[in-house]
Symmetry: C2
Amino acid sequence: MLDQDEQSLHSRFTDFEKFCRKKGLKMTHQRLEIYRELLTSSDHPTVEALFLRVRKRIPTISLDTVYRTLALLEEAGMTNRIQTSEGLTRFESDYGVHHHLTCKKCQKIEDFIWESFDTMLLPPELEAWGTIQTRNIVAEGICKDCLKKEKK
Amino acid sequence: MLDQDEQSLHSRFTDFEKFCRKKGLKMTHQRLEIYRELLTSSDHPTVEALFLRVRKRIPTISLDTVYRTLALLEEAGMTNRIQTSEGLTRFESDYGVHHHLTCKKCQKIEDFIWESFDTMLLPPELEAWGTIQTRNIVAEGICKDCLKKEKK
DNA sequence: GCCTTTAATAAGAATAATTCTTAAATAGTA
DNA sequence: TACTATTTAAGAATTATTCTTATTAAAGGC
């Protein structure tokens, strides 16, 4: 499992190089580190959080570069933007179809997969609307940790 | 159908009065007009848009009052906040379970209902997470109008 | 209906998130 | 190694949202 993860991480870096070449974009130190940080972050970080993490390795990096790079990665479909109900923008690296579960108390976001939903046919009325490309579930509630705290 | 809508609109206003009384809130002209505007808007307006519409009837209303009132209504569960991928906050009056369909081009949001999804049991693994209260689908694609424009 | 109390409002200042501007630095290429 | 076009850092500008304060108005008692 770990091997496989590392394998896939490595191949994703290679993809990033290829991607830059193909698009005529320069492969900068900053872009690589931002992308790496996002790949290894599983907590759906905000731009600010990502900036602080990357700054440990590149102390002179600017917040603006993080914004620009994330926009770039998003456009290329390599990351997803998540608009939370707190009003903050969070990011995650794109790794296939999944859904989100958010705690209303602590705002923590967890991923989950649900294949029987993914393969379900949408209501036929929606065909008249246009072409539907993605469909994601946003579920909200109170997580176990916050439920415990409430009881105290 | 129209009769029923008007009926339900009227009862919702009455609810609003009751709601204010119960919470010890004052029933102001501004609050009523903002609530009315949201009830009769089906296009998921932004705060700014709502402000401009209400201003036609109350020219001196301030943007801040719209923000404050929407926060109030949201807290009471009478409206829902929708965080769009454009990064804008939109609002809709709460009228029962439904889902959203957004056009990636023109950003228009349409509602749809899908009862067979609503009654579907969530994956059992999620029970370990905590208590799940809501689950909504956000579908994205290109609407018919934008598809037509693309062909030109 | 008028008075009092307290909450709500308007106006504009303050804050926070994001984007833009510009000069300097750097990647890719000859 | 030198050249050219991108990209970057820094900070200014913009935009959305919230806060502050003096004024206004709703609700309830008289």
